[in-house]
């Protein structure tokens, strides 16, 4: 023990919460994979490593050197045979992600092996990490700020590369910096207003009211732009949501299944809560796309069909794109389409005509309709390539440009930005009328407080609780 302590203290930098606990968790996603990683953090992790890890001797060195990846064997207590061949690395307190002494083990990914190793670590004095606990330690050690911590949560949740990029940008701090800057500008306005309250008799060369209002409007419009980027941010994080909708028997489910078969499904099939729609994630040329198969609309039927239609309406309203399917073999599809499209609102719509295999001359038919129609046959697979090409084009059209700006991906941030904007608007009215300036100051300070909750300047137990419960083990 004393020896390890020495190692720790000699390496220790200022920021390192030495919790008495040592925590462990698998940090790679659950399920079978080639390699799995296990992280240990806390006081005991070096001694646990030394107990179970027998490094293959390279030259004469048997010492564990910080940040040097060592190859060796994991051996359970009381056994002589290795459980698995592993790689291990030690990161001393103050220089690790969590700020604590930290060890990472990389073993083969079979669920059995991983479980055996983790159980052994827990038996040796570690406890299972709570969701988000590693990041919480990183936050507590001052290694990352609150908005960084949330970005990490998003990296965990990110499913595809494009998603990861947005989360990474966020993590690097562009977003923090941007919000900090807006906050600073806002504090400048508060100072102007406060000065006129505290020094009414002095000749304060405060900004003219017009220029003050101009600055307020600038900040407000930046905030609005930022908070509007949330739709894009949400798409990046949650995936682009495409609802396949249409009248009954247009072939919605056939298309849904076809797309699934051809693309890699990201998550296993989950039935909708009301059992009336199916939702799947597919990787469409690097975009995480969430396709939803909805119940047929406008069909007659009993209570169950009615419920299905209501939920279909709901899904359609929350989608980023509607793939509206029509049955080209149906005689009066054109008339139906015109009336159906009227009820779909402002969401972009891509009309897909199915069953071209059953039409004698679909090219001619489609000309009777003004808009563009993608013609496919779910049965033969004809036209599906075109459909996908169009889909990719529409998805990328609706994605925000990641390289040029900052994007809000957290719903909590979005609500804080909206609230800040609202407070600023209330204050602006008062400043414009030159009445109740102390109330304008109050509103502006509330807006600053809203931004503080994004950058984590103000500590509130509630926010921490919520953020850290959002994490799942293993990021």
């Amino acid at each position: 023990m004393t020896r390890e302590k020495k190692v720790v203290s000699s390496q220790k930098k200022a920021a390192s919460p030495q919790f008495d606990d040592t925590i462990a968790a698998i940090i790679t996603p659950p399920g079978e994979g080639g390699v799995a990683a296990i992280r240990l953090a806390g006081r005991l992790c070096l001694s646990i490593l030394k107990t179970h890890f027998k490094p293959a001797v390279i030259k004469s060195s048997k010492k564990i050197v910080p940040f040097m990846m060592r190859y060796g064997h994991f051996i359970r207590r009381g056994e002589t045979k290795a459980t698995d061949e592993i790689m291990a690395v030690y990161m001393p307190a103050g220089r690790s992600y969590t700020g604590c002494d930290q060890v990472e083990l990389y073993c083969h990914g079979g669920p059995q092996v991983v479980k055996l190793i983790l159980d052994e670590l827990l038996a040796s004095g570690a406890r299972a990490a709570e969701p988000g606990e590693f990041t919480k330690l990183a936050f507590l050690s001052g290694r990352i700020d609150l908005s960084h911590a949330e970005a990490v949560a998003e990296i965990i949740a990110a499913n595809t590369e494009s998603s990861y990029e947005a989360a990474r940008e966020h993590l690097v701090g562009h977003y923090s910096e941007y919000v900090e800057k807006l906050r600073d500008d806002l504090v400048g306005i508060v100072a102007e207003v406060e000065a006129s309250i505290d020094f009414p008799e002095e000749e304060i060369e405060s900004a003219e009211r017009a220029s003050l209002l101009f600055s307020i409007d600038e900040i407000r419009s930046s905030l609005v732009t930022l908070s509007d980027s949330y739709r894009g941010g949400r798409i990046i994080k949650e995936g682009f949501r495409i609802a396949i909708a249409g009248r009954p028997n247009a072939g919605k489910s056939s298309l849904f299944n076809l797309l699934l078969r051809q693309q890699r499904a990201i998550v296993a099939t989950t039935a909708g809560t009301t059992r009336d729609y199916l939702s799947e994630w597919i990787d469409l040329e690097g975009y995480a796309v969430n396709i939803v198969d909805t119940a047929g609309l406008r069909g007659k039927g009993g209570a169950i069909e009615k419920a299905g239609q209501e939920s279909a309406q709901r899904i359609i309203s929350k989608s980023d794109l509607i793939l509206w399917m029509i049955d080209l073999a149906e005689a009066n599809w054109s008339k139906q389409l015109t009336s159906d499209l009227k009820m779909l609102g402002s969401t972009p719509i891509m009309v897909t005509g199915n069953k071209i295999d059953m039409c004698d001359n679909h090219h001619l038919q489609v000309k009777s309709y003004d808009g563009e129609i993608i013609c496919v046959s779910c049965k033969t697979g004809k036209g599906i390539k075109d459909l996908k090409r169009t889909l990719v084009a529409l998805v990328s059209e609706n994605l925000p440009d990641l390289t040029s700006g900052v994007v809000v991906t957290s719903a909590r941030h979005k609500s804080k930005l909206t609230s800040a904007t609202r407070h600023i608007l209330t204050a602006r009215k008062k400043i414009a009328d030159s009445v109740e300036l102390e109330l304008a100051a109050f509103d502006l300070r509330q807006a600053v407080a809203d931004l503080d909750e994004i950058t984590g300047r103000i500590y509130t137990e509630e926010i921490l609780g919520r953020i850290f419960s959002k994490f799942c083990v293993g990021k």
Binding site: P17, Q18, G142, F442, G456
Partner: protein
Amino acid sequence: MKSADRMTDVVVVGGGHAGVEAALAVARMGRKATIVTIDATKLSLMSCNPAVGGIAKSHVVKEVDALGGLMGRAADSTGIQYRRLNLSRGPAVWSTRIQSDRIAYSQFVVDYLAQQKNVSVLEGIAAEILTENGRACGVRTESGELVTAHAVILATGTFLGGLIHIGEKTIKSGRRGEPGAYSLSESLISHRFELGRLKTGTPPRLDGDTIDFAKCELQPGHEPPPYFSYRSTMREIDQVPCHLTKTSVETKKIVSDNFQQSPIFSGKISSVGPRYCPSIEDKFYRFAERESHQIFLEPEGNGTSEIYPNGFATALPEEVQCQAIRTVVGLEEVRLTQPGYAIEYDYIPAYQIKPSMETRRLSGLFLAGQINGTSGYEEAAGQGLMAGVNAVLAIEGEQPFVLDRSEAYVGVMIDDLVTRSTTEPYRLFTSRAEYRLALREDNARDRLNQYARKYNLVSVEEGDAFEDIRTDTDRVIAALRKKRVKVSDLGELSQRYQRAEMVTLDNMIRQPNISINEAVQLITKLDPTIADNMEVLERAAIAIRYRGYIEKQQREIDKFKRQESELIPADFDFSSVTGLKREALDKFVHFQPGSLGQAGRIEGVTPGDIAVLSVFLKRHNESR
């Protein structure tokens, strides 16, 4: 110690605004207080401008008044001009300011103390803090007199190590023409206190008979005169006006040409003065683009023609001062009655006191006023009163009286002092109060009457009488909520209501376009029976006007109180919190915060530090 010349309960060093309130609080609580001061005829003498109150400061005066203090009554009784400031803003930042007759003000306090039981005044200069068993137990004066006591309050103002600067000249003095206290600093250092140095300044005084007031802008007082104290009754006086004038192009030239003659620039003074109250040379230096600065001409009293030129503080050589001020509009022929000067003095950076004003190093020793790094009569009075109360509570073994930031400006100030490093003399502003809408002049007694009663700072009758006003106010608020009036009777305001024909008075008061005063006048016209007291009606109207905001603010206050209630035990060892950043650890050890909330307000401490601290604190408390 047995041969003490005098024995008292609390010895107060200094007879200024802090010392007087401290002694009076001690006396009201039934203990004996002895003030040791250089000149017993100059109690509460206003060393700088002859006015009490102003933005945020008047809030403190009202708080001192609600807690039984004297400052409000002294200003009310000796005022020569009364004004309410910020009336174009809302009632939370309305402030009162009274120009008082400097001599009359001091005389009022001298007379008041003479008839106050339990207070005595000893002329002398304190030279040494006496201790017994590690506790402060009295003072020795330079002439060798001993005053023994159970507690000592230092309220030394600019007298502690005072050094006056006028140009190149320096004079050891605590205030013009008066000696300072020098041995006392040595005594404090020997008790291992860290002393710092601050600077402040004052303008020259002018002979009003040599001023051409016709060239200046008249600033009359307000009628009826606003008073600080709820005890004050209407005085029939002719108010004296102030005047507003400004510096000229020549002023700028003369002052700028002589920067090097000012000790502030020549390097003779290295200590820091207040940014909010710069000397005239500082103004021209730091704001070189400004061609002119305004100067307020404030009368020093009724029986004198002396004028205080507010805004012209200076430490330039006397002849330069004279030359420069004669370039100010209206002052071309002016005669100086006394030169302006800068003064440096010792203070004890306030991390060395607890929120009770008692020093950490030496129990039984309390500090109030400029010695804590503050400036201003009102700030001093507030601290003096708190120190007096807490000295008595300490003697009696009771818990200290600490006001928090949501209760009073006094609480905001003391919390700021103990959680921040003072680098310049500290002054209150309303913007320092995060719960500003709740800390108003009009509700000072609502906030503090309970404490005034608890500590016997007001008589039982006074305490009860206010509770009646409070009940009355609640009744009027309810009546205003019920009473409906015709929209057509509301005059211009009726345009706000497009559809409604009838509207409640409550709703009318909440319209932003109508001021509280207009609302109150309109109500008395529409329904004279609703309140028989204008003060009560105004209180009710303000409460209604701010209701929505106060409710919002209340949620923040509740959150704040939760963090304040997470106490850090006095024996808590911050160095056991291993995860803290070095800077945060140093700050915690330095300031010794008493609660998690207080710890979070220390500059340079991050949310992460507080999170770590809270984890260890929880563990510490569980293991006990």
